[in-house]
C-alpha cells in the first residue's frame, strides 16, 4: 500500500545541509502494525511527516496505493491527507475550548461529510469516551485527551494511523491501555498503524520494528506480536 524508495530529506540551515533522511526505502502493507525506533534526531518524525503527506521528500519516490504522490499539488495533497491519514501526536494537539465531539468532527468539516455529529460520536465510543463527549481538553486527563486525538484520526476511516510518541507524556498504565486500543483497531478493524516510540514496552505491541539511525533504516524485523503468542481470548486482560 505504501512504497517508499530511496527517500531523502535535506534541510538547509544557514549554509549547512542537514540530511534528516537518506536513502530510506520502506514498504508498509495494509493491516500492519509498525513501530519505528531510534535515537533522538535519527529522523523518525521527519519520516512520519513524509508518510503523512505533511512534508515532501527532497529525493526518492513515494507511491501510495500505486500512484506517485510526490508531485501532487498542495491542495490535492491536503485533501488526500485528510482522507487517508490520521495523526496522533505526543502533545495531543487538540484545539482549546472545543468539546471532544467538536474536536473529532473537525476532519469531517474539511471533507464536507454529512452526518458529522453521529460519526464523531461513534469514533469517541470506539475509543471508550462515550461519557466524555461534551468535555473540553482542560476537563480531560492526558490519556483521555490522547483518546480524543485518536478518535479524531479514526473518524475519517483512514488507511493509516500515524502516531509520533503517542504515549510519551503518559504513565505506564495509560500507555498499556492505549496500546491495547491500537492493537484492537489493527486486529478487528484492519487499520494500519505506524507508531514512533522510544519504549520497548510500546514496541512490543507491534508486529514489525523498524530501527533508524542518522536518517537511515538500520534494521527492519518482523515477529509475532505479543498477544499472538498467547491463547485467543486473553487480549485486553
Amino acid at each position: 500500500m505504501i512504497v517508499l524508495r530511496d527517500i531523502g530529506r535535506v534541510y538547509q540551515t544557514g549554509g549547512a545541509a542537514v540530511h534528516a533522511l537518506e536513502g530510506v526505502s520502506l514498504d508498509v502493507d495494509r493491516g500492519e502494525f509498525v513501530a519505528v525506533m531510534g535515537p533522538s534526531g535519527s529522523g523518525k518524525t521527519t519520516l512520519m511527516n513524509i508518510l503523512g503527506l505533511l512534508d515532501r521528500p527532497s529525493a526518492g519516490r513515494y507511491l501510495l496505493g500505486g500512484s506517485d504522490v510526490a508531485r501532487l499539488p498542495d491542495d490535492t495533497l491536503a485533501r488526500l491527507r485528510g482522507r487517508a491519514f490520521g495523526f496522533v501526536f505526543q502533545s495531543y494537539n487538540l484545539l482549546p475550548r472545543m468539546t471532544a465531539l467538536e474536536q473529532v468532527e473537525l476532519p469531517l468539516i474539511y471533507q464536507g461529510t454529512a452526518d458529522r455529529r453521529r460519526r464523531a460520536a461513534e469514533a469517541l465510543v470506539r475509543v471508550g469516551l462515550h461519557d466524555r463527549l461534551g468535555h473540553q481538553p482542560t476537563e480531560l486527563s492526558g490519556g483521555e485527551q490522547q483518546r480524543v486525538a485518536i478518535a479524531r484520526s479514526l473518524v475519517v476511516d483512514p488507511l493509516v494511523l500515524l502516531a509520533d510518541e503517542p504515549t510519551g507524556a503518559l504513565d505506564t498504565a495509560t500507555e498499556a491501555d492505549l496500546m491495547r486500543l491500537f492493537s484492537e483497531l489493527v486486529e478487528n478493524h484492519g487499520l494500519t498503524v505506524v507508531v514512533v516510540t522510544h519504549e520497548p514496552s510500546v514496541a512490543r505491541y507491534a508486529g514489525r520494528i523498524v530501527k533508524m539511525r542518522d536518517g537511515r533504516i538500520i534494521e527492519d524485523s518482523r515477529r509475532l506480536r505479543e498477544w499472538e503468542t498467547h491463547a485467543p481470548g486473553e487480549v485486553g486482560r
Binding site: G52, R81, N93, R97, L106, Y110
Partner: protein, 417 residues
C-alpha cells in the same frame, strides 16, 4: 469547507475573544456611523439653505450694490450709505416694461432698535413697499402687510416679524399698538403703529427678526437715505419674474438697463436669480460634504487598520491551530477562507452596528437646536451604501494578507511548537 462552517469557526473565534472583537469592530462602528452622520449633516445643510432660498418666493431675481453685496446673503442690511442702487433704478425696470418682469420691489435695510415700553430688540428695518409682501410670499399671523394706501400716504406703520413681536409684546397681539424705531444709535427715533405681524417663517428665515415699514413714510424723515443728486438709495431691488419667463434673458436685460443708467461698462451691482444662489450654496455645501465625508472616511480607514492589526495578531496566536487544521485535511484555501471570513464578519458586524447608530443619531439630531443652529439631517441612502461598501472592502483588504500569512504557515513547524 462550506461557508456555513467557515462562519461557525469565525463566530467561535470572535466569541472566544469577546472584548477584543468588540473593540476591533468599534473602530468600524465609529467609521461607518460618522460617515453616515457627517454626510447627513452636509446634505442637510445644503437642503436647509436651498429650502430657505426657495422659501423667499419663486422666480426672484435679486439686485444688490457691489459694494454692499455679500454673495448669497439675501437680506443683509449693511452698507446702505455706499449703495449704488437707487429707487430710480427700480422705477426704470418697471417703466421700461422688460419682458418677463412681473413685479419690482426695492427695499432699504437699516439696523435699528425697536422699542415698546420697557422692551426693546435689535432688528433690521426693511423700508419697502406693499409689493414686497407678495414678492417674498410673506404670510400674516394677524393684521395686514403694508398696503398701497400706506405707500401713497407715507404713513408711519410697521409690520413685525414673529420674533420681534414676541419679544416686544410677549403673549399679546401688538396690532394697533405703538413701537418706536431708534436709528443711528439713538440719534433719530420715530414712532410707528403696528398694523400686522408676520407668520413664523420657515427655518432660520431672517424675516422673523425684521420689521417692515413703508419706504415713502421713512424717506421723508431720514435725509441720509438720499444721494447728493436727490435719488433715494436702496439696499436691494427684488425683481419677480413671470412664471415660465427666461430668467437668464431677464437678467441680461436688467443688467443692460442698469449699466446704461449708471453710465458704466463695469457692473457696480450684483444680479442673481434664486437658481444662482442655490447653485452657489450647493457648491459650498458640496465642498462641506466632501470635507466631512473625507474626515469620516479617514476614521473608517483607521478602523480598517485596527481590523488588519488584530487579524495579524490573531493569525500568529493561532499558528498551532492552523497546523492542526492542516494536519486533519484543511487546504490552504480552507485556511484563507477561515481568516477572510473572520475579518469580514468583524467589519460587517461593525458596519451593521455603525449603520444603525449612524441612522439613529441622524434621526435623533434632526430638527434639534444645537449651538443656536437648527440641525437639518438628510440621510442619503448612497452614503449608507458607500459606508457599508467601504467597510466591506476594508474587511476584505485587511483579511486577505493575514489569511495569506496563515495559509503559508508550515504545518510541521506549527505542530512542533
Amino acid at each position: 469547507m462550506s461557508l456555513l462552517d467557515a462562519f461557525r469557526i469565525t463566530l467561535r473565534a470572535i466569541f472566544a475573544n469577546r472584548l477584543r472583537s468588540a473593540l476591533t469592530s468599534l473602530g468600524i462602528v465609529i467609521g461607518v456611523s460618522s460617515v453616515i452622520v457627517l454626510i447627513a449633516v452636509g446634505q442637510g445643510t445644503q437642503q436647509g439653505v436651498t429650502d430657505r432660498i426657495r422659501g423667499l418666493g419663486t422666480g426672484l431675481i435679486f439686485i444688490e450694490s457691489s459694494a454692499a453685496a455679500t454673495t448669497a446673503q439675501t437680506g443683509g442690511g449693511a452698507g446702505l450709505a455706499e449703495s449704488t442702487l437707487v429707487q430710480g433704478d427700480a422705477d426704470a425696470i418697471e417703466a421700461n416694461a422688460i419682458p418677463g418682469v412681473a413685479g419690482v420691489a426695492s427695499r432699504v435695510a437699516i439696523d435699528a432698535q425697536v422699542v415698546a415700553g420697557a422692551n426693546n430688540v435689535g432688528a433690521t428695518v426693511i423700508s419697502t413697499s406693499s409689493e414686497y409682501g407678495e414678492v417674498r410670499d410673506l404670510g400674516m399671523l394677524t393684521g395686514s402687510f403694508i398696503t398701497p394706501l400706506h405707500d401713497q400716504e407715507g404713513w408711519m406703520v410697521a409690520v413685525l416679524g414673529t420674533r420681534v413681536a414676541e419679544t416686544l409684546y410677549p403673549g399679546e397681539d401688538p396690532v394697533g399698538r405703538e413701537v418706536r424705531l431708534s436709528f443711528g444709535g439713538g440719534r433719530l427715533t420715530l414712532p410707528f403703529s403696528v398694523v400686522g405681524v408676520l407668520e413664523e417663517q420657515g427655518g432660520a428665515s431672517e424675516a422673523n427678526d425684521q420689521a417692515f415699514v413703508p419706504l415713502t413714510g421713512l424717506a421723508s424723515r431720514i435725509r441720509f437715505l438720499y444721494t447728493p443728486t436727490g435719488d433715494l438709495r436702496v439696499s436691494q431691488i427684488d425683481v419677480q419674474a413671470q412664471s415660465g419667463a427666461d430668467e437668464a434673458r431677464v437678467k441680461e436685460d436688467i443688467t443692460e438697463l442698469l449699466l446704461f443708467r449708471h453710465e458704466t461698462t463695469q457692473p457696480d451691482f450684483v444680479i442673481q436669480s434664486q437658481d444662482d444662489l442655490i447653485s452657489a450654496a450647493t457648491e459650498v455645501s458640496n465642498t462641506l460634504s466632501i470635507l466631512l465625508g473625507s474626515i469620516a472616511g479617514i476614521s473608517l480607514l483607521v478602523g480598517g487598520i485596527g481590523v488588519f492589526n488584530i487579524m495579524l495578531v490573531s493569525v500568529s496566536e493561532r499558528t498551532r491551530e492552523v497546523g492542526i487544521r492542516r494536519a486533519v485535511g484543511a487546504t490552504t484555501r480552507d485556511i484563507v477562507k477561515q481568516f477572510v471570513t473572520e475579518a469580514l464578519t468583524l467589519t460587517l458586524f461593525g458596519g451593521l452596528a455603525g449603520m444603525a447608530i449612524g441612522v439613529g443619531v441622524s434621526l435623533a439630531v434632526d430638527g434639534r437646536e444645537i449651538g443656536g443652529q437648527v440641525m437639518t439631517m438628510l440621510i442619503q441612502p448612497w452614503s449608507i451604501l458607500a459606508a457599508f461598501g467601504v467597510a466591506t472592502a476594508v474587511g476584505l483588504a485587511s483579511g486577505i494578507y493575514p489569511a495569506y500569512r496563515a495559509a503559508t504557515i508550515d504545518p510541521i513547524a506549527a505542530l512542533r511548537t
